[in-house]
């Protein structure tokens, strides 16, 4: 019996040979395992399901505590009984994306053909592939129509892709701190992070499993990431020019400032919790995504019936508001039901994880209105 105090990850496997999943690149991948968690209860007509997508380095543990865990799930303040994604009313699903390293099939998984980790032999995956693979999970759970799909950052891209790929399976979507294609600056920042990893000799062309990890490269890539997730103001408020464990600067290249110490700590802990190759694959997936590819953005939203809530944050310079406003504009041109808000906050891109009060109000009310006429959701 599982302890109701704790949440547990479940696993779903599909795409066994000869029915492998054909990826966007044309390459076949299978079998595929998805690690996922669910919270709350699926109602009798399966109409209260909400799919949550995680961000770049997230996982299936969106809420609740694993036994012996130091922290709850990555969006725990937003998901639970009485919270914005209210598990007393809704059935919440969150799966680790393919290409990741938290239980779903990715470059660190064992390649059944060789019995060794894939490494760089893992096929390149896209946001589209992540979404398609999670549709298998929703089908497996017997859910025909989701009440909502939601996510921040990369999770927002997945929710957006789902809304245009499977429009009939989605009543509403909540897109937070996201965009529809990456700009040159966003790609450039990812490329610096990738180069940090790939220039670490221990990376060894992706073949480091069971050997020394490319820790230095991983650490530097995470430092870059953390700088982009904060705003100038939030860094200034948090660290300023405060020194770490010293009264005055050392005039050497040791650690002087608190911000240096913070970044080093974040970098070092990332090595323990994430796979370098997954970081390369997932950041590439972000760069490749372009919803307006082959059409224009207005054309992408043609004939949708989904209700949208789009949220941005004033200090988020990594996924600036204007990108979401472009999405809103294209949706309006299609006469879609869309609400947009730019929340005033200094937390930068991280806001979607930490600015809980405003998001909670918006999400809970938005969902209540979407579920308003459903007698099976109380």
């Amino acid at each position: 019996m599982s302890d109701p105090q704790f949440v547990e990850t479940q696993y779903f496997s599909f795409a066994q040979a000869p029915n492998e999943l054909v990826l966007k690149s044309g390459v076949k991948l299978g079998p595929i395992t998805l690690a996922y968690e669910t919270y709350g209860k699926l109602n009798t007509d399966k109409s209260n399901a909400i799919l949550i997508f995680h961000a770049l380095t997230g996982d299936a543990n969106a809420a609740g505590w694993h036994k012996d865990a130091k922290n709850p799930g990555w969006w725990d303040p937003m998901i639970g009984p009485g919270k914005a994604f209210d598990t007393d009313k809704y059935f919440i699903i969150c799966a680790n994306c393919i290409g990741g390293c938290k239980g779903s099939t990715g470059p660190s998984s064992i390649n059944p053909a060789t019995g060794k980790p894939f490494g760089l032999s893992f096929p390149v995956i896209t946001i589209e592939d992540m979404v398609v693979s999670q549709k298998y999970l929703i089908d497996h759970l017997g859910i025909k129509k989701l009440l909502a799909a939601s996510g921040g950052s990369m999770g927002g891209l997945m929710a957006l892709e789902w809304s245009v790929r499977y429009p009939d399976t989605l009543q509403s979507a909540i897109l937070i701190a996201t965009n529809y294609k990456h700009t040159a600056q966003q790609i450039a920042l990812h490329e610096v992070a990738r180069q940090a990893i790939m220039s670490d000799p221990h990376w060894n062309k992706g073949d480091y499993y069971g050997k020394e990890l490319p820790a230095q490269g991983m650490s530097v890539s995470r430092m870059i990431g953390h700088i982009t997730y904060m705003s100038e103001r939030s860094m200034e408020e948090k660290f300023g020019r405060k020194l770490q464990d010293k009264e005055k600067v050392g005039y050497d290249f040791s650690q002087d400032f608190e911000v240096e110490s913070y970044l080093r700590y974040r970098g070092a802990s990332f090595v323990q919790r994430f796979d370098a190759n997954s970081y390369l694959y997932l950041s590439k997936a972000l760069d490749y995504f372009d919803l307006s590819e082959g059409t224009d953005l207005v054309g992408a939203f043609k004939d949708l019936k989904t209700k949208f809530l789009i949220v941005t944050f004033t200090s988020d310079w990594l996924y600036p508001s204007y990108q979401s406003k472009d999405i809103v504009r294209a949706m309006k041109a299609n006469d879609l039901d869309v609400s947009f808000i730019e929340i005033e906050t200094s937390y930068g891109h991280d806001s979607f994880l930490v600015e809980i009060e405003g998001q909670s109000k918006l999400v809970s009310h938005f969902l209540s209105n979407v579920a308003k006429n459903n007698v099976n959701i109380k």
Binding site: L309, V328, K332, D337, S339, F340, I341, G358, L362, H365
Partner: protein
């Protein structure tokens, strides 16, 4: 129900598609959805008001009116509402032109700057008037424009805009005659061929 909302509701045909520019906390749109079965959308600049709109189930976009209309195609809405917001926009002439482009009809609600009370305050006190419709001092008013009912009528005439209805009132109710002299607020239903 607010008096102005009551009169606006009277002007709107049921089952219409309505856009409210400067929709505030969504009270009017919510009424239109419930009592007129309208499809409603709003644009609002104040973040706090947006939360209230979402709570009410009103679709709303966070942004300013001056730039919010370019997103919409011609005659998309049955009605575009500019209630108590026209005097706060940077470029009212452009906003009205845009509202008439995206809306088949436009409802404009304005505070009357030149009613009797205001005229007396200017004449006898020699001060900028503070009235029911314009309760602010010069230093804290959100209003960028000060106009009278007559000014708005002239504006429409000069641009071949048809005034289909004009409803003027004060705290006690509708004013039957001498709107420009006696009323605090006026609501116009306008259109352009």
């Amino acid at each position: 129900m607010r008096t102005d909302h009551k009169y606006i509701l009277e002007m709107i045909v049921p089952n219409s598609h309505v856009l409210d520019l400067g929709c505030g906390d969504g009270e009017l749109l919510s009424l239109l959805m419930q009592q007129r079965n309208c499809r409603a959308a709003g644009i609002e600049i104040d973040e706090k008001a947006i939360y209230k709109c979402v709570e009410r189930g009103v679709s709303v976009s966070h942004g300013d009116i001056d730039s919010g209309l370019a997103d919409y195609s011609d005659k998309r809405f049955d009605y575009v509402i500019l209630n108590e917001s026209l005097q706060e926009v940077m470029n009212p002439e452009k906003v009205i032109a845009e509202a008439l482009r995206v809306g088949k009809k436009v409802i404009v609600g304005i505070p009357n700057f030149c009613n009797l009370n205001a005229r007396l305050q200017i004449f006898f006190l020699g001060q900028v008037p503070v009235t029911e419709g314009l309760p602010y001092k010069w230093y804290n008013t959100p209003n960028l424009r000060f106009l009278s009912i007559k000014d708005f009528r002239d504006f429409c005439t000069e641009r071949s805009i048809t005034i289909e209805q004009e409803c003027a009132f004060d705290a006690k109710g509708k004013i039957a005659f001498a709107h420009n002299l006696l009323s605090d607020i006026a609501i116009f239903l306008i259109s352009k061929k």
